[in-house]
């Protein structure tokens, strides 16, 4: 690998931007492709597929065997609401490799006793969220069930283009939430991005089961190609 390529790779990784290094393993020829340049690349389909799966692998193109090494940012999860569901969800997400942060201004909920080893921020979303540099590689879960907390948090998640946005609440609650968020400037497309009621429909009852349903929905959103997502949701 050329020094320049390594340097560029480290710059992109530090900025949490995905890149793929394409190597012809027969002769060592190599190039780095930034995600922003995929569309214009002859290997667009292969690059996009590998990045979506978050998996490195080999492809054969024009008689050449190429290794595509995917360097995707570490997935993160921000949970707004230090509630019972979150106590189950935080360790579950960590076991899947997510960096987890829990935000809740209610100090009775956001206590280290309830969330051992999880970074906790006992502040309102407008204070807590901006310094987290939330980005596309973030799963955003709003589960306080309190519009004062969930609504501003969701507006922030829209602005940061999180790959998954989920919010607790029945269809009725969600319809009201949609009206409130639109009144605050959210577009219909933003509202449509919210997974609500949150989690895959697996008949979850207990907080831990709901956490499994949420985690499964996040995994499906991350890994399935777009056309299959509907199936998973049904």
């Amino acid at each position: 690998m050329k020094s320049g390529t390594l340097k560029e790779l480290n710059v992109e990784r530090a900025a949490r931007r995905p890149v793929i290094v394409v190597t012809d393993t027969a002769n060592g020829e190599q190039r780095l492709v930034k995600a922003a340049d995929f569309a214009a690349d002859p290997l667009n389909a292969e690059l996009s597929k590998q990045l979506r799966m978050g998996k490195s692998g080999n492809v054969e193109v024009g008689g050449k065997k190429l290794f595509l090494n995917v360097y995707a940012p570490t997935a993160r999860m921000v949970i707004v609401g230090a509630v019972h569901i979150s106590q189950a969800l935080a360790p579950l997400a960590r076991s899947l490799g997510y960096d987890v942060t829990v935000v809740d201004p209610r100090t009775a909920f956001a206590s280290p006793e309830r969330f051992p080893d999880v970074p906790l921020i006992a502040e309102w979303p407008d204070v807590a969220l901006p310094p987290l540099n939330i980005d596309h590689y973030t799963a955003f879960v709003a589960v306080t069930h309190d519009p004062k907390i969930d609504d501003p948090a969701l507006l922030h998640a829209f602005a940061r283009d999180c790959f998954y946005i989920g919010a607790l609440g029945s269809r009725k609650t969600h319809a009201k939430r949609g009206d409130r968020l639109k009144a605050q400037g959210a577009a219909d497309a933003d509202i449509a991005r919210i997974h609500a009621p949150i989690g895959l429909s697996i008949g979850a009852v207990s907080p831990s089961e709901i956490a499994v349903a949420i985690m499964a929905e996040i995994t499906a959103t991350l890994r399935l190609p777009k056309e299959h997502k509907q199936e998973a949701a049904e």
Partner: protein, 107 residues
């Protein structure tokens, strides 16, 4: 997770800046049960210092030795380790998998 890839690759960059010869080893293919997935990196400098992993520790020693040659020659090399390999008795994967590791010089 320890030794995140970004830290490993940053170390490679820093070593090179400090004047070291550096090699990058990458798992490019796996069969059966292999401990580290394709894309995993191990970086090695000319002191024999290394960071990261391409297996659960079974073949790193052999990769580091090959990396010394690659740093010297500048020519990339493909290595294969597995139970089917004759060297399995020495440095094979105890888990029964097979891996191919691409070793290249940085710079």
């Amino acid at each position: 997770m320890l030794d995140r890839d970004e830290d490993i690759l940053k170390a490679a960059e820093d070593w090179q800046k400090a004047g070291h010869g550096v090699a990058l080893a990458t798992v490019v293919e796996t069969w059966g049960s292999a401990p580290r997935p394709a894309g995993s990196n191990l970086v090695i400098n000319d002191d024999g210092t290394f960071l990261g992993s391409v297996s659960g520790g079974c073949v790193e020693g052999a990769v580091v030795a090959e990396a010394m040659d690659v740093i010297e020659s500048g020519k990339p090399r493909m290595l294969e380790f597995g139970v089917a390999d004759e060297t399995a008795w020495n440095v094979g994967l105890s888990c029964g998998g097979t891996i191919r590791v691409f070793v290249e010089k940085v710079g």
